[in-house]
Symmetry: C2
Subunit: 381 residues, 2 copies
């Protein structure tokens, strides 16, 4: 079902988007209350709206949304707005949370380049984010995890940054899956420049998304507002390596605020890039995950993808009763002996030992060699 958005509405949003910083909560509230067209018209008519900067009308007058849309279209870039069939449902949640860093709100629109249907691929999606200054351990884990998610038809969303982000996109591609990059600059700008090839590839096979119109440069505030989109577009966020100063923790905060599933991959406690993740887990804010199956378990509807914990042989042995354990202890590992010798070693009666030995044999713990017994191919722990 594709809702039809009026052309005027789309153009009003293009224009407002062009003059505003992403996540400006005042503009967001105005648009939510009056509608984009009304705000656009009033600002252009220079109607004084409390709190809006006075130059807004002037800047809007100098803005030609049709030209902006046309130029974007020439670059293969489309502008999604609420009501479009491709508008991802998760973004609505941004309207419900309080501003942080004075950033909040549903975006006025999203600039998108790439063949994927954003709404469709975000329905089953997980953000994999982390430090730019990642270790090879971190990038390797991020890539493996993303490849696993890709194999489960889960879209991997990240920020195309150095380190974990790049590994996440690459892992998803290697796993034959879908991946979406959300940028803090125009989707036509290769940022970081070293990722030009990756971003071009994502624009060909995946999707590159931004709240900022084409041509815009990244700024620190724009990274912060971008992070709220990564969290909102996805069902859950996995943080792989994040030092205590990492921007990935900002994405994690947004995920928690939006009631998304927040997950963290641990690492060596001696590794600074894992410190932020450990803090998230320690404070009970993020669940600990160590493999793709754990992520699937946490982001899937209850009961699906339940991951069976690994169980050691110990548990099997722990299920033996005390007599069985004592008899088993008395059975030699290598050289088989008769049950009478086992009874002497165990300090138990021969009949008890014989009964127990046959039960242990049925359970696969011991094996007989004529009248003699020994352990069945097992190592003493």
């Amino acid at each position: 079902m594709t809702a039809v958005v009026a052309e005027e509405e789309r153009l009003a949003r293009v224009a407002l988007n062009a003059i505003a910083e992403p996540g400006d909560p005042r503009l967001g509230r105005l648009v939510a209350a009056l509608g984009a067209q009304e705000v656009y018209d009033r600002l252009r008519a220079d109607v004084d709206l409390t709190g809006m900067r006075s130059e807004a009308g002037e800047r809007l007058a100098a803005t030609d949304p049709e030209r902006i849309l046309g130029e974007a279209d020439d670059l293969g870039i489309r502008f999604l707005v609420p009501g479009d069939g491709e508008w991802p449902g998760g973004l609505d949640d941004l309207a419900t949370v309080e501003p942080v860093n004075q950033l909040s709100g549903e975006p006025l629109g999203l600039w998108v380049k790439g063949p994927l249907d954003l709404a469709a691929v975000c329905r089953r999606s997980v953000a994999v984010v982390g430090s730019r200054s990642a270790t090879t351990y971190g990038t390797s884990v991020a890539a493996d995890l993303s490849a696993h998610l890709a194999g489960e038809a889960v879209t991997v969303v990240s920020g195309a940054a150095f380190g974990i982000d790049q590994a996440a996109h690459r892992g998803a591609l290697a796993g034959g899956g879908q991946t979406v990059a959300v940028l803090a600059c125009g989707v036509d700008r290769p940022y970081p420049a070293a990722h030009r090839g990756l971003l071009e590839h994502l624009a060909e096979v995946g999707a590159v998304v931004s709240e900022l119109r084409p041509g815009c440069a990244p700024t620190r505030v724009r990274f912060l507002s971008r992070n709220r989109l990564i969290a909102a577009l996805t069902t859950g966020t996995v943080v792989v390596e994040a030092a205590v100063r990492s921007g990935a923790l900002n994405t994690a905060n947004w995920a928690a605020r939006l009631n998304r599933v927040l997950m963290g991959v641990p690492g060596p406690v001696t590794s600074a890039p894992s410190e932020g993740v450990h803090e998230l887990v320690r404070e009970g804010r993020a669940g600990l995950v160590t493999r793709g199956e754990h992520v699937m378990e946490l982001v899937s509807p209850a009961g699906r993808h339940l991951h069976r914990s690994p169980r050691g042989e110990t548990q099997g042995r722990d299920r033996l009763d005390l007599t069985e354990q004592r008899v088993l202890e008395a059975v030699p590992l290598v050289r088989a002996v008769e049950s009478s010798a086992i009874a002497r070693t165990a300090g138990l009666g021969v009949d008890t030992v014989r009964t127990t030995l046959s039960r242990l044999a049925e359970l696969g713990w011991v094996e007989s060699e004529g009248p003699r017994w020994r352990r069945a191919g097992e190592q003493l722990c």
Copy 2:
């Protein structure tokens, strides 16, 4: 206050301890119900007690508790029983939990070698346990953590095994603290043999403890019953590396069952010896700790030793409002510029920018150079 235990009571416990396996729940229940002397007398008189093996009376008759005590005393080994001033209070809790692996109950007594007062040092104590097949990462973390605890006057309790246990004892000694080894064999037996030197040193400066009388060999069941003592003697248990088959997880289970604080140190998710620890944390059974301060925080009375989470510069910057952040973005990193130039870059009025700049200067974000401004020694993330 040292309670006086009657000599007959102590001798009865020595004798019962000599013929029973540690943690035998039937004997434990009988002693709890009738008292050690009564059970000892009845068994020696061969009175049929349900469930007790019939040879018990015979074996008791062949047991000379005074000789056992005397021989132990010659080796510098003492036998503690409930009621002794040195009996650690935590062991009482073992009487309250259900048997596991058919093991349970407060010990009949403890054989101890070493100068420490066991009750006194266990009042502030933490178990540090983990895999025998530890990595250098694991042993390094265990040693550092134990040294930290030692420095906080917390006794480190462990099992003297290869790997994490050894590192825990060594770390505590290196930190100038007290450490207690709890063995699955007689305290006079160097097990493992390679730790003869360590165990002799612990018997000289710390304490070596066992439920088993001198001379007894270790068996698998005895490791399991030993583990319940490590958990019961301490306020909390830290697991550093435990593969899914590790005996350390058995200690962890006892700690949880005894309502002790259970903690786990994470490691690389690619490291098998960390897998068991990650499972404990993932299942919400263990709290995640990455340093000694975290352990202190969790085992200390509420509000003491609260560990302040590391905070990155990001958080400070996140506290700036949108205008402050926008102005800060517009301030050059190196070459100072006038406020009018900053106002143009930020797209804000000069007065607003001037007010904001002085606030940012007070907060340490920018510095003035005559009429010009630049960032105050800070890196762009």
